[in-house]
Symmetry: C2
Subunit: 126 residues, 2 copies
DNA sequence: AAATTTAATGCAACTAAATTGCATTAGCAA
DNA sequence: TTGCTAATGCAATTTAGTTGCATTAAATTT
């Protein structure tokens, strides 16, 4: 595992994540890359980057897929349960560097959690 | 608001929710109803039931839409932030009657939260 | 009980996200 | 430079969800 060819396409996508902490939707990323690579390629690159632990994915408030860079400290591959905030006004999504406490539930073996918070972000706030 | 014709189709869908507390995916519900009504009708009935506060919706771990009956006590239309559990093994989804504490985040106005937990349910457990 | 009104439905066409198969290209190591 | 094969492009496909419009059937009125 871990065999990655550093193709131009991969570098370009990787760059997007390294330049900013912001999460990006697949739809948006495909659009950003449309003059440089095929959408199928974007999907496949995201798969690889995720497998390598370089990015993580989750679903935004509308069920669409988003990706964001894994921050250095939060690379606990499995137990990375930080929440995400989706702005209802501008549509931006950000990773929140906090820990949501998931209580133990009797009879349930919880192995992962997705927490998506929605509201108004700081930029859209008065 | 609240004008609802008690059509045969609506009664049939309503019955599904009243007979069980389990959540059901739209995909599954459409399949269950396929001999009795059109999928468009299912979508529209779900919209109405939700508007009436009879059911609530959320996204499962794969981003698909699920619905479940609103329990009598949890009909705080807005602040209903109970989590949902999605079994990785059998695919069942259940509403969890617990409260997840969402901490205040500086600069963010959080108005809703979706918490989806994944793992192994009691039936799939040893 | 018939006529009226219009919410609700069926259906086909459509949109959009995500996936797949296959021929071609380009990283990279020998 | 050559050879291997991971990676890509592209077109077709799948699937969730939506829309427009003609038709049907609840509910209300006569
Ligand atoms: Mn994140
Ligand atoms: Mn629920
Ligand atoms: Zn915003
Ligand atoms: Zn299960």
């Amino acid at each position: 595992m871990g065999i990655i060819r550093k193709t131009k396409s991969l570098k370009r996508v990787l760059d997007t994540f390294q330049k900013s902490d912001a999460a990006i939707s697949v739809v948006q990323l495909i659009d950003n890359m449309k003059h440089h690579m095929n959408k199928t390629t974007v999907y496949r690159i995201l798969d690889r980057l995720k497998q390598e632990g370089i990015v993580h994915s989750f679903h935004g408030k509308d069920g669409l897929k988003w990706y964001a860079k894994c921050s250095d400290h939060s690379s606990h591959q499995n137990t990375d349960t930080h929440p995400h905030f989706h702005c209802n006004h501008c549509g931006a999504v950000e990773c929140l560097p906090i820990d949501i406490q998931i209580p133990d539930i009797p009879n349930l073996q919880i192995s992962s959690a997705e927490v998506i918070l929605a509201g108004i972000c700081s930029k859209c706030n008065p």
